[in-house]
Amino acid sequence: MAGRKGIFLLALLLVLVIIFSTGMGYIKISTLDVVKIIIARFYNDGHLLRGISNIFPYVIWEVRLPRILTSAIVGSGLSIAGVIFQGILLNPLADPYTLGISAGAAFGASIALILNISFLGMYSVPLFAFMGAVATLVVVMALSSSGGSVSSNNLILAGIIVAAILSAGISFIKYVADEQVSVIIFWLMGSFGSKGWPDVFLTFAFVLIGFGICIFFARDLNIMSLGDRSAFSLGVNTNRIRMTLLVTASLITAVCVAVSGIIGFVGLIIPHLMRFFVGPDSRKLLPASALTGAILLLSADTITRAVLPTEVPIGVLTALIGGPFFCYIFMKRRGVAGNV
């Protein structure tokens, strides 16, 4: 029951962080006004807006909330994917990018940027990034599977090989890109600037469905940490579940990367951090990581958007905030939990 209480508190904290960060920014809006504007929208009640500047609802609804929600959802998605990758690869050092998904997305985005592909307007780059990520996943799976089963080591190795090739490709694109090189580099570092509602809905749909699939198989994921043979003898079809979860987590990652660029650290650290608090049981770890990832990435994005004098790439900031915090927890817990 303590687990459920913790989840509830985290969810509450997330809502509070969303509300507070909505008020923060170049134009300060009081928390009370934020709440009023949101409620007014939901209940279509104009009276609540009396005495509030006309541009506030626009700022909140069209500019800030989409960005805030996207960053929270992406943080959540990357953390879920991190839990799954670490679980199925039986490797606590794995993260959503271990299989080269990020390199694939980056390669796709670089191509779109250098060729100035814009037939889909502002969604051209995300679409190419997504296609790059999915293509990479297909290649990595084909490389590492034999006879319907995939081994963790083969997956990691195939991921590293494919990522290395793609990285070389990206370097080459940067080399020939000339003036556009800064655009590519900036995209690679990740950003939530100018996100709209379509981004919110798209990521939300993927992450929510993905989370549902992951939580459905969470118990099997626990058993799979005993090793394949034990898991089989406990009635778990490890091959099928590994494939299902791999594809699910990869698609979550692909859509996150496509929308926001490459944001490191979250997918690696959040699952670790949460394992300290709730243990390795995926049934608790998944929801706890999803909520904490959302809170962390949203907080980081709010700091870069509203607190710092100039916007720092979000990927840089997550590492700068999360890193020292993780070090602190790691030092404190190392003695207790042994080899985590």
Partner: protein, 265 residues
């Protein structure tokens, strides 16, 4: 209630790609019997166990479990029938001992249901029997190899299956716990509650506990039968290519094998 053999293997073959691992294995495992499987490294013992637990299915031949083709069972059904203690017991995540043992109950617990009172009772009882309740809240990652293996053993027993497969399930334990665990298994077998099949490297341990032995070599079962009959100097020489002395030991109450060093090398 089915009266025939628990397992019936007919001309079972299996290969990994080009490499033949099992070749024409036929066996009848009768209920409430403790079988020992003995043979040199790489002779196909683990492959055989993988087929019995249906981790793999035979390439040729058939395996029946309780008179029905083993492929006709769902994985969940089999998990309530056959438990496996595997050779490797490395676990990378810091689950507690109790959580690991409780995983043995998963085949009995619906997916989203919490464990029932009976599940928790079984887990507590088995942890006490195996003397691991002293560290039930410790993390599996901080235990020694032998302790970890006892936890994995407990997990298989918690499955409460009528069949137990031990693939060198006691290899890392000290003699006290080895005897403790094998006694427990033998006790259940003699009470008619369990059929056990175990791979042994220690032939004397196999002879002490198993009523029946199967000798394997190069993917074949070359000799099988009652321990009193098949365990002799000739069979050991044939299987392992070594000289030995086989005698009936009154203290043990079974045949034993004595070896001596080769001074000529």
């Amino acid at each position: 209630m089915f009266e025939g053999p628990v397992f019936e293997l007919e001309e079972v073959g299996f290969s990994y790609g080009e490499v033949t691992a099992l070749d024409g294995v036929s066996l009848r495992i009768s209920p409430a019997c403790f079988w020992g499987v003995v043979g040199p490294n790489g002779c196909g013992k683990t492959t055989l166990f993988d087929l019995l637990a249906r981790i793999n299915v035979p390439a040729t031949g058939t395996i029946s479990y309780l008179g029905r083709d083993i492929r006709g069972y769902s994985r969940k059904e089999l998990a309530r029938e056959i438990a496996l203690v595997p050779q490797d017991f490395y676990i990378n995540f810091s689950f507690t001992v109790r959580e690991i043992v409780l995983m043995g109950r998963y085949p009995h617990i619906p997916r989203f249901a919490p464990p029932a009172a009976r599940d928790l009772d079984v887990v507590d009882e088995i942890m006490e029997l195996l003397k691991i309740d002293g560290f039930k809240d410790k993390y599996i990652t901080e235990l020694s190899g032998g302790e970890r293996q006892r936890v994995v053993f407990a997990r298989a027993l918690a499955q409460e299956t009528p069949v137990l497969l031990l693939d060198e399930g006691t290899s890392n334990m000290d003699i006290q716990y080895t005897l403790n665990l094998l006694d427990m298994v033998a006790h259940k077998v003699e009470a008619g509650k369990m059929t056990a099949i175990a791979v042994f490297h220690n032939i004397n341990m196999a002879a002490t506990y198993c009523r029946k032995l199967a000798f394997m070599k190069s993917g074949k079962v070359v000799l099988q039968g009652n321990t009193d009959e098949v365990l002799n100097e000739q069979s050991i020489r044939e299987i392992f290519g070594i000289d030995c002395h086989v005698y009936f030991d009154d203290y043990v109450g079974a045949r034993q094998v004595a070896f001596r060093r080769n001074r000529k090398l």
